[in-house]
Symmetry: C2
């Protein structure tokens, strides 16, 4: 069974999506290199959304006005890699005929990250379809000393998905085939460029769900999810990708194809090499195919959206939740009042409950609707009765569930409309999680437009965001290293799920000891001795 | 909070345990090096168990009669490591005073594996208490070119826990401190030598459970569990240790202490180094401490023990189970009729249901007893009604649950009493899982005493065991490489959860391609360039 996840326009394309001549979602070679704005959130074509035009798109300008070149904004130096020559282009054209993109207009979108804070100046975008093609490309780049930046859906938030200088962009967009799906075990094997939302749809039609879900699902590639060890909204229930991913196929820097694409739940024959590549952000090899275990689709899903009078109550509601909902609890997300104001203001999403200092989204997923309803109703009665929650709304039908989830999932989008965004993704002890937000509000005062906190409370993961009119080195100086020092003081992590990318490289030392950093460098030297991959 | 998991005698010591003068369970320095027979199964002092005296124990003979030296049975050659000198012993004595064991009587048990199929001739056993001591020892061994074999509970089944020649045995037995436990998040941080069953008891008293459980729980160390990436009985529900382990502290071959002992659910700052050591069986470093996420203790646990008329029905019952029990299903184990005969014959455990070709153990764990009971009763009605199951018994109280689990957990012990055991631990597609057992019975005929199949069906994991009067090279020749070839033909794994150890080194190629084996060798060379750890 080798079904194709055919590139197709969604029924209701996202309103702020920039269209290319062949349609915004077309990923075929007729429209290669088309600018695609990542699709965030579950609500396609939601009412009241105003269009956010991606300024760096092909329809505007290849120079991506407003986005400074990374090499101008940051003090970085290009390493002595070769530059792409006409001969190189001719070789690539022989390897992947018709899929070597050099048109500056078409390249522009792939040079700029989704947040529009990073811009590279790559001159060529390659779109292989198979692992063999990737292997040929990398072998050639290795011989020629050409640096390569692998790009999935370009939805990353730390500048890891775009070139810094003129690295070749290796896109997985055309590697979008499902290789196999086992209807009993739920094991999916697919190419790395499959879009998460399309995979979700594919497995849901067969009675399963993907073990991960995130706001960028409409654009992000499963290979990118693995390369960045994405967390997301189902982490609380289904755990880390390190447990649910069964196998990987990876092309190493020298072009060697490493086939660890097993579909076994257990395999203790030697070192688990795939783990090296999960979360290594394309620096050790290019993930070309994935084998992943999908959990059965729950028979009943419910979402409660609640208002809490304080952060202490958010925490107590979480403890109560774990105790009373037990095995059916599948998400526990929180957002503060400013987040709600932003999604209301910029996206016109209506607040579904009374105004509160904090909001919580609780999702349950179970196999028997009446049991889940009973558990949830006992829980809601309890938390409302004892004042942990002051107002709430419950959704059991798919449409309302999506509407409630959109409030949480589209915060990133609302923030990006609020100005320049300084983003932090921190792991902290849950009881201190929100203190940093309050602290920063006082510290920054009116220099920040908004300081907001939201995230996966169940995983101890805070998304801390500060918006301002424009990028300012002075404001950055107020934020960093303060935020990292504060986090290190709590023995937290300075990147919980977003990864390191370009932006967090220099702050690894806040979360990792020197011995660990040294071993990481040794691994990089072992697997990519010339340092060509995402340099 | 630094509580001590004080070594203490259990209330009802296991009857076939060999006692040392200070009591079979004492692990203090007053009794260091005492022979401890691994404690298998949940049933301590179960009625009708006959004593199995460990022949190689300190109470019998240091020569471990009946167990051939590994270097005599197998064609292996000692590498040019140094031999332990008097000066070395004096140095060790300075590092860990009073915990350098050289008495041959005391060393005997640590030189022989639990299955009594491997015997090394180490002349010294070291018992550090801290990571710093381990670091000093390894730094010294690195300088002196002395090979080291790390030993936890010595319950491994593939000869990985005992020396092959005269490697120094580095025991984690005295590294048995709980470092911290967080009562809200359930995150446990402890030293590597804590015994799994004692940790289970510790966290259960605080409302949590360990995310893994296995037959050897009474002896195995958590560090050994991680070093071998143990699967076990809770894998189906709580998944791989690669997801539930949050952090590790590891001492590298040169004595460097690598502190990745984070207690964060998410941390994407650089490569996830701990994954290198999980499942690497002590060949890349010595795990000295562990941070692990414990799930909440379920409010209700039920176990059903069922008889099935054929293997097809075992599979169909599993599918039905997944559908009808959903999120509360926590184990699905199967065993064949010969397994039941062996536990009946050797351990005098009574068969709880009518005689059947196959038996299945289904465990549910949920947060609300009445909901679980309803789900389980609908399931049982259905499978009995349609003939998938011909007889069954249900346990809801702790005592009966233990009795039923013992039937499954003590198969290993029953087999070891049946003669010499050829053990295979395979991952296979579930629908072909049992074919190999039938095939081998026909192939071996009366040359085998028993050919049995059992295991974690829910994980596609078959434990295939063949017993015979004694070790026979001819019978081994019938079994290998046949079993491995058969498994490779199904794209299975030749070691699902038991690991590689000494016995499976040569068969890795059946489950891993040459590129993967080469990378494993490179990693070993990077982390342990002199090849001193478990050589």
């Amino acid at each position: 069974m080798v079904p194709r996840l055919a590139p197709r326009c969604p029924v209701r394309p996202f309103p702020w999506q920039v269209a290319c001549s062949a349609g915004a979602f077309v990923r075929q070679s007729t429209c290669v290199g088309a600018s695609r704005t990542p699709v965030w959130g579950r609500l396609h074509g939601v009412q009241g959304t105003t269009p956010l035009v991606r300024r760096g798109s092909s329809s505007t300008s290849s120079q991506a006005p407003g986005v400074a070149l990374t090499c101008e904004r940051y003090p970085v130096r290009r390493l002595p890699f070769s530059s792409v020559s006409e001969d190189d282009l001719a070789t690539f054209e022989r390897i992947i005929p018709g899929r070597v993109i050099t048109d500056p207009e078409e390249l522009a979108a792939s040079n700029v990250d989704w947040l529009r804070t990073m811009r590279g100046c790559s001159k060529v975008l390659l779109k292989p379809r198979t692992s063999e093609e990737v292997s040929h490309i990398l072998r050639y780049c290795h011989e020629r000393n050409l640096a390569v930046n692998t790009q999935g859906g370009n939805t990353g938030l730390v500048g890891g998905s775009v070139p810094v200088f003129d690295e070749i962009i290796l896109s997985t967009a055309l590697m979008n085939q499902v290789i196999s799906f086992h209807n009993v075990s739920g094991i999916l094997v697919c190419q790395a460029g499959c879009i998460l939302e399309e995979l979700s749809r594919y497995v849901e039609e067969r009675g399963f769900i993907m073990p991960l879900d995130l706001g960028a699902k409409g654009s992000c590639h499963i290979g990118g999810n693995l390369a960045t060890n994405a967390g997301g909204l189902r982490f609380l229930r289904y755990g880390s990708l390190r447990g649910t991913v069964l196998g990987l196929e990876v092309v190493l820097a020298d072009g060697t194809v490493l086939n660890c694409l097993t579909s076994l739940r257990k395999d203790n024959t030697g070192y688990d090499l795939k783990q090296l590549f999960i979360g290594s952000e394309g620096t050790l090899g290019v993930i070309t195919a994935v084998s992943i275990l999908c959990p059965p689709k729950p028979g009943a899903v419910n979402v409660a959206f609640l208002g809490c009078p304080g952060f202490a109550e958010v925490l107590q509601t979480f403890s109560t939740c774990k105790r009373m909902l037990g095995e059916i609890l599948s998400a526990y997300e929180f957002m503060d009042a400013e987040c709600m104001q932003l999604v209301g203001h910029h996206l016109r999403l209506a607040r579904p409950v009374q105004e509160s200092p904090f909001y919580v989204l609780v999702e349950t997923s179970g196999s028997r609707a009446e049991h889940d309803a009973e558990k949830l109703s006992s829980f809601l009665e309890h938390v409302l009765g004892c004042g942990l929650v002051t107002d709430g709304t419950l959704a059991t039908d798919q449409r309302k569930i999506k509407t409630l989830w959109a409030l949480r999932e589209r915060i990133t989008e609302a923030l990006s409309r609020d100005g320049y965004v300084y983003k932090y993704d921190l792991s902290l002890p849950v009881d201190r999680l929100y203190d940093l937000v309050t602290d920063l509000r006082a510290r920054l005062g009116p220099r920040a437009r908004h300081v907001v906190g939201y995230g996966h409370l169940g995983d101890g993961n805070l998304h801390l965001n500060v918006t301002a009119e424009a990028f300012s080195a002075a404001l950055l100086g107020e934020l960093e290293p303060y935020v990292y020092q504060w986090t290190a003081g709590q023995r937290g992590s300075v990147s919980a799920e977003h990864g390191v990318g370009f932006k967090k490289q220099s702050v690894l030392g806040y979360s990792k000891p020197p011995e660990a950093l040294r071993l990481m460098q040794q691994l990089k030297a072992l697997l990519d001795p010339r340092g060509l991959l995402n340099p």
